[in-house]
């Protein structure tokens, strides 16, 4: 588990996400209005398509979430859990901003 620089902060538009390829895996990296950043798995388990980075970001009942663009389930940015189905989790990894770059601490396990 090591921190890896992904991209410049400005590579991601405020309030949106982008996918990142990290160690052969796809992460969805989001940048919020207050420059907090989050990384969760990009694969939408309900459609098996790697698309969560392209969902709409917002909050539901106080939790930060992204809505899958395919069938609209919500995933919490904090821990990758699914709001509609608590048995589903896409994974979440620590992310932050350092020296104007977004970093993710990613590793299996």
């Amino acid at each position: 588990m090591a921190w890896q620089a992904i991209c410049a902060v400005d590579d991601i538009l405020v309030g949106t996400g982008m996918a990142a390829l990290v160690g052969g895996h796809q992460l969805a990296v989001f940048r919020l209005h207050d420059d907090r950043v989050f990384a969760i798995g990009n694969l939408d388990p309900f459609s098996d398509a790697p698309v969560l980075s392209r969902g709409i970001v917002g909050d539901l009942g106080g939790d930060l979430v992204v809505a899958s663009p395919i069938y609209k389930q919500h995933f919490r940015l904090m821990d990758g859990s699914c709001v509609e189905d608590e048995t589903v989790n896409v994974g979440a990894w620590p992310a932050d901003i350092q020296d104007g770059r977004i970093r993710v601490r990613y590793g299996a396990g």
């Binding site: 992904i6 991209c7 309030g15 949106t16 982008m18 996918a19 796809q26 917002g58 663009p69 395919i70």
Partner: protein, 847 residues
Amino acid sequence: MTSKQTLLVAGNGMVGQHFLEAAAEAGLTDRYDITVIGEEPRHAYDRVRLSEYFSGTSAEGLSMASADWFTEQGIATRLGVRVDSIDRDGRKVTLSDGERLDYDRLVLATGSYPFVPPIEGIDRPECFVYRTIEDLDAIIAAGGAARCGAVLGGGLLGLEAANALKNLGLEAHVVQFAPTLMEVQLDRDGGRMLESKIGELGVKVRTESNTRAIVDGEEHRLRLQFADGGHLETDLLVVSTGIRPRDELCETSGLERGERGGFSVDDQCRTSDPAIFAIGECAAWNGRVFGLVAPGYQMARVAVSALADEAARFEGADMSTKLKLLGVDVASIGDSLGRTAGAQSYSFTDGPAGIYRRIVVNDRGDRLLGAVLVGDTTPYGDWLQYCINDMPLPDQPEALLLPGVEGDAGGLSPGALPDTAQVCSCHNVTKGGICEAVAGGATTLGDLKSCTKASTGCGGCTQLVTQVLNAELESLGVAVDRSICEHFPYTRQELFHLVRVEEHMSFDSLLQAHGKGLGCDICKPAVGSILASCWNGYVLGDDTTPLQDTNDAFLANMQKNGTYSVVPRIPGGEITPEKLIVLGQVAKKYDLYTKITGGQRIDLFGATVEQLPEIWRELIDAGFETGHAYGKSVRTVKSCVGSTWCRYGLLDSVGMALRLENRYKGLRSPHKLKFAVSGCTRECAEAQSKDVGVIATENGWNLYVCGNGGMRPRHADLIATDLDDDALIQAVDRFLMFYVRTADRLQRTSVWLENLEGGLDYLREVIFEDSLGIAAQLEDDMKRVVDTYECEWKRTVEDPERLKRFRSFVNSGDGDPSLRFVRERGQRRPANPDEQAVQSIPLVEVS
């Protein structure tokens, strides 16, 4: 289960069908083996809406029950055969194919037949009646070669037939024996007003004309010779001179007949043989036959109760009617002709506006006995309630007559109605019934429709039902929470007003002023769409991009594997060979799956997000624009080839489709919008299934609105006739902007209209009479959208900042390595899960 008795039903028309449904609901299917015998070749259909068959509703569209329904209910059917005779002693019927069936109980629901007067020549092949789908097929077949059609009979059905002829594109005439039209329902002044309004619409009416003979014509196929020496020529004739009950089974069975025909029935709808019932138009109760569907339905329910050993009585029925004939509103209530002893009447005529009203009151002037309305039927609901509930009138009953002042003159509030007041006569729903449904949780007209069926018949009661509903909700103190989501305590409509009035230019500004939290996937796209409708800004700006659904955010539709489709605009479906070739070349270069869509354009599937700008650059260079297939916006304007090529085309439908599509492309709205333009009434562009449908006539364009295909199909409503090009555009401008302003999020125009209080009439007033005084504003709003149109893809491919988002990965220039495709029928498609591992072709790399 051998103890079941046998119940036969003769006739599968509207009333026979209603009987079967009520019987199934009451559990009679457990006590009886039911068989229905119908002479027509199909299951029951909605005869009341028969004329819609001319405007494109199919036989299936009119159908009241599917074959599956009968199977599910265990009801046997014999279609295309008639009950020919009844052997009452042996309790058997003989069918026209010779089969004999036993019965324990028999229900006659044989309806009526069109009466054809014995006039010389009336049996010629160019003469038709108007009762069944087969009759209409015959008229349509003859209509193709005809230029001109006449209807014999100026009653309700005759006028409806005249309208149908007009819609077939024929010059229409009505020949009436009586001095005025609709002499059964309307008094003379009312009839005259109707005649002059219909005349304005181009239907030629001839009253007091006694047709003596029908002979060969000189200019047209037929000539009607009148007793006064005059004549009229026509290519076809529809005879609509009244109906007669189909009671011919009296002859073999000896069942009693009413004085004016029909199987004589008692209050339980039993004929003179207690094992045999008669219901609907074939039944005579107290010597009277009822030629409307609502009394027939009541009889059907009474007969079901009697068969279930429950007490119920038929007590006569209200024959009030409200309808639109050739676009003119007409209504008659109760004793409209003032036949009651001591009755007095008041009337009011507004010549310029074409409005006529008459009320008939009792001798003391405190009860309404009947009424006539022509030109405007707004007071119908209130007046009907006064009449059928025997409610006291205001002190000066004549005050009811003045349009616009009913409110001041003590107009009816729903609170004044007794609980027993029947609000919907088609389905026998009372005010009490509605209140019960509301107590049970119904909060919208839609809810009420599904749980009480109120307002799902003739629709005449919709306004009243809505009023009762709202009053009841209010009195229960129910504040219906219509907030769009947890972030805004407002409806879409309210948000729209806030954005406009307070001139919010961004989501954040609106959220700060009126919302809480960060927003979500409900309110963000809704507000994004509102901002676009109001200010028509660029949808992929820095602050608008995060609001968009992924389809809008990438200006393309996401497919199930995360790739996108590309749909260039092909206005009106018209495309040059050069452009067609470019589409083929692009598709080939990027290996895109290619399909002709249901909207007359071409969809290219399977582009990855980084390919999109590249593909669009090539398309834009070839003159294409975005098709907004991804947006809640104008999709396609379908067109037929029209007068340019088609031998029947009346106007240039392609040209009009292009004009419409180019005008409204880019308009963001609560849901997608679809249009179509047909060059004549044959309707090859299927305009009547669209949000906006336009059909050419001899005199201009007919405008239809609020149609829908999709999951809940709805036929569009005719809102205006014979518009010229500019009047059409003006009307559509107003219509669309009014919808954009007032609809809920993701509410198509069809559902919007169904929830719009006042319905089509109200909409027509807003658009054509500017009843809200906002028409100029609506046009201005539309003008701003039209003037600021730009192709979003063009702007996007020219803006490197924007293109940064069109990458599969923020940290790599590569495409998505996980995508798997296979080939099928020569094209590439996403691999199924079980194909993923086995066959795969690498993603095509594009330089």
